[in-house]
């Protein structure tokens, strides 16, 4: 879909605070407007209803925070990306901040397909941290970790153990135990809340922060900004 003349860009952004209550779709619309406010030279799809060429990575659940959200956008021609963290952030809702950019290599694979693992910092309530630690050990040692999902109005039990990469207690504040959690995203990911409930039925993920997304390729583990960046950022063209 990327033409020869386009300038694909990947950017990383965070979503913190009150704005975490807006949906993935709302975030997309906010970027759509921010691009217009900043009058970026967007490339448009051909066709009956031209749309900017923007694609997002994995959806983030409503209510979850993130320090590692990504989107790809195609521009018509090269521009200087350095000001974006300041200018685009100002055009976005408070709490959504652009924290990094890169010019993408041509024909870079889409985010959705290339991200293979996601890390979260989860605040868990419902038990003391020692008990939570024990439950995590037991779940990690087990070969099966079942969650109940609703599919087409019917409840089905699925094993998410193959998706659970790592889960570690990292601290506790008051009633809340902080846990780092890494989940594989292919072929289909699991929600942190599902994993937490599967680890202990009385546990609740009270707060969720996505901290990293990883692209694992040929034995390497890469940040999405590093994985498919152009080798050399072209000189910005005055426009």
């Amino acid at each position: 879909m990327r033409g020869d003349t386009g300038f694909p860009v990947r950017l990383r952004f965070s979503k913190r605070g009150k704005v975490r209550f807006i949906s993935h779709r709302d975030v997309a619309r906010a970027f759509d407007r921010a691009f217009r406010i900043e009058a970026l030279p967007l490339a448009f799809t051909a066709g009956f209803v031209p749309r900017p060429k923007v694609s997002f990575g994995l959806a983030l659940s409503v209510g979850h925070e993130s320090e590692a959200e990504f989107l790809d956008v195609e521009l018509d021609h090269a521009v200087d990306l350095d000001p974006w963290p300041v200018t685009l952030s100002a055009a976005l809702p408070e709490g959504i901040e652009v924290t990094g950019t890169c010019a993408l290599a041509e024909r870079a694979p889409a985010l959705q397909e290339s991200v293979t693992a996601v890390e979260y910092r989860v605040g868990i309530i419902g038990a003391h941290s020692a008990e939570i630690g024990g439950l995590i050990e037991r779940a990690s040692a087990s070969s099966v970790l079942e969650v109940t999902r609703t599919k087409k109005g019917r409840e089905v039990v699925e094993d998410v153990r193959p998706l659970l990469r790592a889960m570690t207690v990292v601290g506790a504040t008051g009633d809340v135990t902080a846990v780092d959690l890494e989940i594989a995203t292919q072929p289909r990911s699991a929600r942190p809340g599902e994993i937490v409930a599967a680890v202990g039925g009385h546990l609740t993920a009270e707060h969720v922060l996505r901290s990293h997304q990883w692209i694992e390729r040929g034995g390497a583990r890469l940040e999405p900004l590093d994985a498919d960046a152009r080798m050399r950022v072209p000189e910005a063209r005055a426009s």
């Binding site: 807006i22 967007l42 031209p50």
Partner: protein, 652 residues
Amino acid sequence: MLQMSNLWPAVEPLLARVEKPARYIGMERGAQAPEHRSNRVSWLLVYPDTYEIGLPNQGLQILYEILNERDDAVAERSYAPWVDMERELRGAGLGLFSVDTHRAAADFDVLAFNLSAELVYTNVLNCIDLAGVPVRAEQRRPHDPVVVAGGHCAFNPEPMADFVDAFVIGDGEEPVGELTEVVAAWKRSGRTSREGLLRELATVPGVYVPAMYEVDYDGRFIAGVRPRFADVPAVVDKRTVADLADWPYPKNQLVPLIEVVHDRLNVEIFRGCTRGCRFCQAGMITRPVRERPEEQVRTMVREGLRRTGYDEVALTSLSSADFSGIDGVVADLVNEQEGTGCVGLSLPSLRVDAFTVGIASEIQKVRRTGLTFAPEGGTWRIRQVINKLITEEDLYAAVEGAYSQGWRRVKLYFLTGLPTEMDEDTLGIAELARNVVKVGRKHTKQASCTVSLGGFVPKPHTPFQWFGQNGVDELERKVGLVRGALRKSGANIRWHDPAATFAEGIASRGDRRVGRVIERVWRAGGTFQEWSERFALDRWVDAMAAEGLDADWYVTRHRTADEVLPWDHIAAGLHRDFLWQDWQASLQAHGLPDCRWTPCYDCGVCTDYALEHVVASPLAPAGGSQGTGQDLSRGGEAPVQFLGTKERIGAR
């Protein structure tokens, strides 16, 4: 008092348990940073429906900016919490709060409600109660906020008279400042007697304070409404902004983070309407026509798009294709936006003619999906009765134009239950729709036509204010007639629930006694009555019975010329004689021209209030308008509503 509570830490945990939590977070682009000070009057502007319905409301946004620009005022916003959030708030011992800084509603000096529809009345009570304020005005104490209401429904304030301290009648831009000054003086004096404050408020022009008036009854009828004090006006006249050019608001239209209705830049291009459609309260109470200067429209569009990032702008008014400079403005905007990336323009209009379709094709160069027209009545005779003078040829020419130029869906708005309506008129709706489908099929097999059928509710300050509304059974029968006649026609039909139409009728022309009914419906859990899943007519019928009131007396009864109407002490400027003559003319199926372009027939507004129509261009719009040399007796012009570009999320 100054150190007001920030409820956010208490509200935040509730948001994980409610649908659409972003309704309650604020943070829209364009939101103000309100700074509360003890010498400032704090306003909480409340829209008594969901965030998605209330946020785009231009009236609320205009007042929000005007108040925050003042040194002596500060304004925040709130919207009715949905049922799930209300349950959470009450469960947690919390109340209504502002979305801007999450302050408790009870901490504001003024709670101001926008009354844009009658079925939101129970939500107003619920919001007052959720604020921790007594719902009945007489029970409020000096430390309670002053409850103010405005909007079109304030033109019959009586059903809400028990709950509202002061109504603002008409345009709110100027009175909000004057109210602020009265409340500020009251605050400085130590917020003593509430009675004294109300009396002071009653002297502000355009402000109606129900507690300052006594209603006398003669059996079931009203004998009169009289002021309790000599300095309280016997009749409250509406306020009118003389020149829209002085009020280029909103300057910073709010851009919501979630999808709302009318989710686009909205630029009001004129206020008022002189087409004289007899069923239309908005057209009657907002006279005269005041157009915004063309250059200001261009500036507001240009700057609004740049600031908001929206890709669509609506030029709003009651009938935008009637703006005197519309073709020039549209052509300029389309040219200006070309190449900047698909900015859509929409133009809600009442015309049904080739001119409208011409403008629509200018605007919608790509997305030609649906066009909406509002003939309102099924036969030429009934359209003369309602003064919507569009001929069948106008309509067919308009849809021919639409289908031939690439539109595939046409939506037609109609009313049923109109004065003098016979089955022939009702069935005429189906006939028009069938013919529209035939016209469409000549051009494309995909041609579709949807009839949207609403039950007519007579409104105060219109020529139809004396008309006895159709009952539920009759409206259901008429809907059934149209449905039956549309079977296998290729046209679809959607209709408004006749039961909800009936409840609206109770509140629309109700008097002060109906307040008790509204309170009962609210206490029985009847909030969000505009939402079909929350509405039950039984609650209204039961409440009427419990108060010893006869619903049919209020809804389906014809009024006589000599009857004192509950809103006779509120003036929109329209002479009662004029309205009565127009009502009689309608019964004879006599039309009335658009007075913007023809000599004044003295409805009373301009002469009484020393106002004039303000037009942006000395020439009538190309394509003609009522009274611009066309033969009005056959309605050479055309009322339509044509719709914008994309299908939007439904309001209901």
